[in-house]
Amino acid sequence: MAAQTLAEAAILGGHHAQAFPYFGAERRGAPVRAFTRIDDKRISIRSQIYEPDMVVILDETLLEIDPVVDGLRSNGSAVVNTRKAPSELDIGVSVRCATVDATSVAIEALKAPVVNTAMLGAVAKVLDLVTLENIQKAIADRFGEKLGPRAAEANVLAAQLAYDGTKEGRCLGARSIVQRRMWLPEWDEVPTGVALEPEHIEGVAVGPGSSIQNMTGTWRTSSPKYDREKCIRCLRCWFTCPDVCIKRLEDDHVKVDYRYCKGCGICADVCPVDAIDMVKGVHEW
């Protein structure tokens, strides 16, 4: 959404632009890359971008798990969602950098930690190819059409607040860029029929049992709180949890496995005595 809105803002400014996403797994919360090209003539290249002039990082923690700044040169720039000032931030390559606490801005303006429009405000501050005015027009257009005028207004405000709160400077480049572990077999090493064995847990193709390694607990935005006193040990929650996160104890009370719980709330929904309460945020009890 952010990449597309940036392209629309550039088009409003009279440029040509192109924006597209690249999805890995089709689920919310998974890391997603999106690309935007801006030019003054028709854009012919349709490949992904390998040597970006600018990298916009919506989630600072991605620096720990993904080579997000791969290909960024020292004459490029970065815009990062962080509480840190550029001079305190190390992204692995020292570049002209703008930082903004987009999460706080989004919570203030949108009452939700959805940072893409706030980040666009920060981008407008450092990218000469777009103006804040056109960014806000593009946001109003995209979000207004989908979510109505109130959502559009709130997102326009998020861009403004982030624009005002953006700090500019130069970030550090001391950390080593983490590399993605990818299983890239030669053609004659691909198992016949792509029947994967348990050790094949890297890349997109995952073997059996890989869900053990894949801790999905951080995906949740609300967490089940279990009240042992209210529980009548009917075990409906244990039976219906789609991710086997409700563990049955010997006496038929239960325990939540928060390492994998995605916070879907089905357990709370099926409980006949309200012994499970869904509490906003990532918690454990």
Binding site: I11, A17, Q18, F23, S44, R46, S47, Q48, A138, E186
Partner: protein
């Protein structure tokens, strides 16, 4: 005319709105769904007067489309990969009954191996079905060809369905600058659909009868002639479109830097864009390379390609799908057309399952085409990006 920032899927929906399609049967499948979502919005806002009919499968979608088109209304649908495969049986009900349905197929890998990304192995097998097939390269062409497709399909010299193919994600979800024409301009270019015959109880006709062998050959030949003759209509409609909107696409093929080219690549879909960027780079280095964007797989432009390729030292074909143990389908078709021309042709298979195609990849394709002048130096079929043991 209004300038908008649209993905190709949304550009198609705008095309369908401007074409005033009246019946739109639908079944959701990624990466086509954006088209139907926007059409549903248009209908709910009162901006498009059409019936969007959710069916229980793609097989049923095409059945509804056949009924609607036979009933004499302008009909649209869209699908992708597994959806197109499930439609396969009903696709054949359309051309022989001469129903001018327009369908967008958002090219997506047909599993297994399953994936949501672009490959042409979903639409290529359907080139035997009797549908016309055009492959587009950007969001503007997606909108424009939706309009052109209706005018071509409904031309009484043609009366064949048109499948507009566009690459999943690389195009379907890519936002670009698109000129959306005014309704009045489109109405002048694309008049209301007047069916040749329709299911009307007051003037009964029988459609889709069982046909004994005494007639099948003649019916097939009639279809073969209609498909071949449609080449002229494709050109005429493109000319008319250019006169009305200022944008033309060259009809069946679009040639780039071919005037003095010694080496050329034939490519379709979005790969043509990146190949064009490679041609620009190589031309700047003084290399005589050119590009032929193959737009239509049906009707296949055999005469046009023979003319465009005469005098070349070598030719390459880029295929985004493969027929196992043989070649990519585009290579097979091109080789058939150029048989006896003496131009050496190599097949370049790449972009399978949506693997990214870079300018560097395309530069390599051109280098191999140049090297293929020397017999035996380059493999007839070259799989680009294949990981294989060296040595």
């Amino acid at each position: 005319m209004v300038m908008k920032a649209l993905s190709a899927d949304h550009a198609v929906a705008w095309g369908v709105r401007l074409a005033k399609a009246e019946v739109i049967p639908a079944f959701p499948i990624t990466p086509q769904t954006l088209i139907m979502e926007l059409l549903a919005e248009f209908i709910s806002n009162g901006e498009l007067d059409a019936d969007l009919i959710p069916a229980e499968s793609e097989h049923s979608v095409m059945s509804v489309a056949v009924g609607a088109s036979a009933g004499g209304v302008r009909t649209f649908t869209a699908t992708a990969s597994q959806g197109l495969a499930l439609m396969h049986e009903m696709l054949y009900a359309v051309p022989q009954n001469r129903l001018p349905i327009v369908m967008v197929n958002v090219n997506r890998t047909l599993g297994a191996a399953g994936g949501i990304w672009a490959e042409h192995n979903d639409s290529m097998p359907e080139r035997e079905s009797g549908w016309m097939q055009v492959y587009v390269e950007d969001s503007q062409e997606a909108l424009d060809m939706t309009l052109q497709a209706y005018r071509i399909a409904e031309d009484e010299r043609v009366l064949l369905p048109v499948m507009v193919c566009l690459d999943g994600f690389i195009l379907s979800h890519t936002v670009e600058k698109v000129e959306v024409p005014e309704q009045g301009e489109v109405d002048a270019f694309l008049p209301a659909f007047v069916p040749r015959s329709s299911l009307d109880p007051s003037e009964p006709v029988m459609m889709n009868p069982i046909v004994p062998p005494e007639y099948t050959t003649e019916m097939r030949y009639q279809l073969d002639r209609a498909m071949d003759d449609s080449r002229n209509v494709v050109h005429q409609v493109d000319e008319a479109f250019k006169a009305a909107f200022g944008r033309g696409y060259g009809g069946l093929i679009d040639e780039y830097m071919m005037d003095d080219a010694e080496f050329a690549l034939i490519v379709l879909g979005t790969a043509a864009s990146t190949a064009r960027a490679a041609v620009d780079e190589l031309r700047a280095e003084g290399r005589k390379v050119g590009l032929i964007k193959l737009r239509f797989m049906r009707p296949f432009p055999h005469d046009e390609l023979r003319r465009a390729c005469s005098g070349l030292k070598a030719l390459g074909v880029f295929d985004r799908s493969v027929s196992f143990n043989r070649y990519g389908p585009v290579f097979t078709e091109v080789s058939g057309s150029l048989c006896g021309s003496g131009v050496p042709i190599t097949d370049h298979i790449g972009g399978l399952g949506g693997r990214d195609i870079t300018v560097r990849d395309m530069r390599k394709v051109f280098s191999l085409i140049e090297a293929s002048v020397e017999e035996g130096k380059v493999k007839r079929v070259y799989w680009h990006g294949l990981r294989e043991a060296k040595g």
